[in-house]
Structure formats: structure tokens, C-alpha cells
Amino acid sequence: MTTISPPPAEVLEARKSLTQGQLPPWAQWSMVSACLVVGLLIGLTTGFSTALALVLGAVAALVVVPAVSWGVEGVRRAKDRLATLLVTLAFVLALLPLLSLLSTVVDRGRHRFDWKFLTDDMNRVVGEGGGAYHAIIGTLEITAAATIISVPIGVMCAVYLVEYGRGWLARSITLLVDVMTGIPSIVAGLFAFAFFSIFFGSGIRFGIGGAVALSLLMIPVVVRSVEEMLKLVPNELREASYALGVAKWLTVIRVVLRTAAAGIATGVTIAIARVIGETAPLLVIAGMATRTNYDLFDGRMTTLPVYIFNSNANPGARAEFGLERAWAAALTLVLIVLLLNLIARVISRVFALPTR
């Protein structure tokens, strides 16, 4: 009979308590703050820029916190804390440009973001005043038309790829969609311009051409996101439907698309947000106008990005007014995208799967 010798004394000592060897909960973040403050102080005394000093403080925290933790808690917790700090740092780095952009747009855009700006166009405006009404109308109409063109095509293409497509045709469509994702937007604009020039002569400019150009950019995004959403629908639901004697096309429409509806709504919003800020293709095919044009099929149309571009490039005799209008238009565009996202959230809430 063998006897199991008891573990040595130091091992028993180390196992004494389940809670020993822990830093208190506040330790990590107070160490990080301390590093940042020290970095700032050194920065202030030696005359570094504040941003550089903060970066130095953050790097110091990346060293100090894991080192202290290694000493007290052991290597596993030290790694955990290092990873936590790295992820937090990445998050802050990613957020900084966004916050800076938003605050700049709001700060500079608010001077002219008034009722007159939202309801006036640029007809016969050279200096002060004027507005972006024509550009807002142009953006909404062209984007809506692009959505109406690309959503049915994109959804049907995704349905084909997920539910029906087999073999080389499906593979080549997937490849083409991937290639389309990479089309530079100016090329899409030139395509629409060349295409409509065949029928209407060169020099054609109208809103629907812009919508066609935008839908070239939108379709691959819609296809991709809808495809992913359809793949998420469990096969069991399709089989349950088939087993009830429901034909395949009805199953696709009433079970698969319905189950994926919330995700499809989100995907479409992302696609809209992707194209609503496009400038180059619209400059080529939709052109510029100072007057409000409601007709997609006749005459030049301005959109907000083109308006921003133009107000910045040709601000007019008194440049400050043009620049103010450009910033206000940028703010308008950001707000429209924000509003679209809110609408998409409501839509996907409506279509979401009930849980209780």
C-alpha cells in the first residue's frame, strides 16, 4: 500500500486562503490615474504637449500595473490586467477621433444651423444668408431612390446565394459582389455618367443618375449583410416549414425573411449610411444647382456632400459665410444619419423576435 505524502509546507502556506494575493478593486484604476497625473505633471514642468504627456502616462500605466500585479497576484492576473488595459486603450484611441469630429462639427456648424438654413436654397445668394434646403431635398430623394433600387436587388441576390445558389454561378456571384465592394465611388459615378450619356447625350446631369451610381455602391453592402443574416436563420425552421407542406419559395418569404427581418433592416441602414455621404459620383452625374429641384428625372440636383464640397471649394466673395454654411451642412448630414439609425432601431425593434 502506498501512502500519499502531504504537500510541502510552502505549498500549504500558499493555499492558505482562497482570497489572498489580490489587489483591492480600486488599485488598478488608481494606479492608472496616478500614472496619467504624473505624466501630465512632467509634461507641464518640462513643456511637452499635453497629448504627448498623456500618452507617456498611459504607456507607463501599461508597465506599472502588470508589474505590481505580477508581484502581488501572480502571472495570470498580471496578464489579465495587461489585456484589460490594452483593450481600454484601444477603445479610447478609437473613440477620440469620433468625439473630436463630432464636437468640431457641432461647434462650427451651430452658427448657421438655423431655420433659414434648413428652408432656404442658394438661389442668388453670394454673401451672407442662403441655406441648404435644395441639398437636403437632393440628398433625401437621391438616397431614397438608390435604396429603392438596391434593396430589392440586394435582398433577392442574397436569397439566391443562401437558399438556391449552388456551384459555379453562386461562386462567381459571390466573387463579383466582393469585387463590387471595392469599386471606387468615382468609378461608379463615371459608369452612371457613361451609361446615361449613351441614351441622353453627353453632358446629361440628373438625380436618378446619381441614384444609380449610389446603388452600385449600395448593392454589394446589402447583399453581404443580408446574406449573413439569412445564414443565421436556423435550418430547423426551414425544415419545420417544409414538413408542414409549405413550398420552398413561401418558406423563404414567410419564415426565413421574416425571421431575419430585424437584421435585414439594420443591414439596409448601414448600407444607406455608407452611401449618403458620397460626393464624387454625385458631382459627376447629379451636378450642382443653387435652386431647389424636386424632380429626380430632370435637371441638376445638389446633395449635402456636394454642397459641403462646393461651399468649401468656392466659398464666394465673403469666404467666411460659405465656410459657415459648409459646417452647418456637415452638421445636417450627421444629424440625418443619426436619425436614420434611430429609425432603423425602431424598425428592428418592431421586427425583433419576441422573447417572452
Binding site: 416549414s241 414538413a243 407542406g245 425571421t259
Partner: protein
Amino acid sequence: MSKRIEASDLDIYYGKFRAVEQVNMTIEPRTVTALIGPSGCGKSTYLRSLNRMHEVIPGAYVEGKVVMDGEDLYGPGVDPVVVRRHIGMVFQRPNPFPTMSIYDNVIAGVKLNGGRLRKAALDEMVENTLRGANLWEEVKDRLGRPGSSLSGGQQQRLCIARAIATKPAVLLMDEPCSALDPISTLAIEDLMQQLKNDFTIVIVTHNMQQAARVSDKTGFFNIAGTGKPGKLIEFDDTSIIFGNPKEKATEDYVSGRFG
């Protein structure tokens, strides 16, 4: 309503792979037929070939005949969608439609096919079907709630209700109790005893006590080895399969001396 199914010389393929070979079996109306056998022996594949669900999988096909009341299910011009309206199916994992309420799940077969019935007729159908599935008392106050709000056993009975609401002649059940606790299992076994008055029931199960409890006839499937096709070894009255089987392999399997 209940109908007889005869499978003869049935070979079932996944692409080039022959998964099940040479099944000959007559499934009598108003009985419960149980299919037992080790995992991967082809009993679920065989079950799915009885209502042409097998061919939903890309590359899968069947050779041989499955005759239901004189009509070959795999004959030329037979629409698999119509076959599935005559032969319903319940799956291993409860799969109520997550977008639909309990009420809508029961009438899914009618609704998804675009059928229109008056509200009163639908109400009556929902109540009768849910009573038939022993679920009415538990859910009658919350028919508008999503099907996914029910417990696993209730969901499975909802799926049975959904299957029998389309008034099929045959009900196929693919391990309907393997995801359920003993109490829910008992509820579904009781239900099967009631349902067999109106339907032909075929059930695949891994639980031999269950096969012995609920079935009138039992088929034992086995497989010679990995990559070989599964075969129907023996098909007879349940009492014979579990009491005095003719084949050595069957006896080994039902007495637990398998493998």
C-alpha cells in the same frame, strides 16, 4: 385518415454515399412503429425519406419505392410539397417559429400556405388541436405569447399540435423526447397513444424502454461499420423484438450487450 406505408427495396444516398440499403417495411395504419438502433445506422435518414424531407439536403436522393395507399411517393410527377402535407413530421429539437405566437404556430400550416379561414374556424381549430396535443389547459390563457416562451416539453407538444393541425395521415417523429425531461416525455408518450387512433405514427428513438412502452411494431437498424450503409436487421411485433428476437444482433442490442 390513417394510411399504410410500404417501403420496398429502398436505398438512400447522400451524394455517392449509400447511407441505408434495401429497406423493406410495411407500416400499418393506426399503429405506432418504433425504429431503434445505434447512432448513425440510418434510422433518421430512413424516417426522413418517408415524407421526402431527405432530399432537402443537397445531393441526397433515394432509389426504390415508398408506396402510400397504392401511390408511390417517389413516382414521376409527385410533388414533394404535397407529400409532406399528407405526412407530417416532428423533429428532435422543438422548433416553434420564433416570430409567431402560440396561436399562430398552431395554424402555421394553414397560414404559411396562404389558406384563409374565418376567425371562428381558426379559433376552433386551434382549440381542438391544442386539446388533441394535451396542451390546451396549459396555454389557453396566453395564446398570444410567443411559442418560445413555453418550456421545452410544451414547445414539443406545440410542434406536435402544429403538425397534426394540417390533418396529415401519417406522423413521423424523429427522437421527439430526447431533449425532454421524464415528465414531458411521459406526456408525449401518452399523447402518442391517443394520436394513434387517428394517425399512423412512426417514431425514431434511442430509448429502448420508450420503444417497448409505446410501439406496436419495432424495426431494428444496424450498421456493419463506419462508412458502410445501415440496414434494417429485423422488423416485427414489439413484443417479439424485445422478448424473442430472431436475429442475434437484435438480441444483443435490446439486452444491452451491443458493441
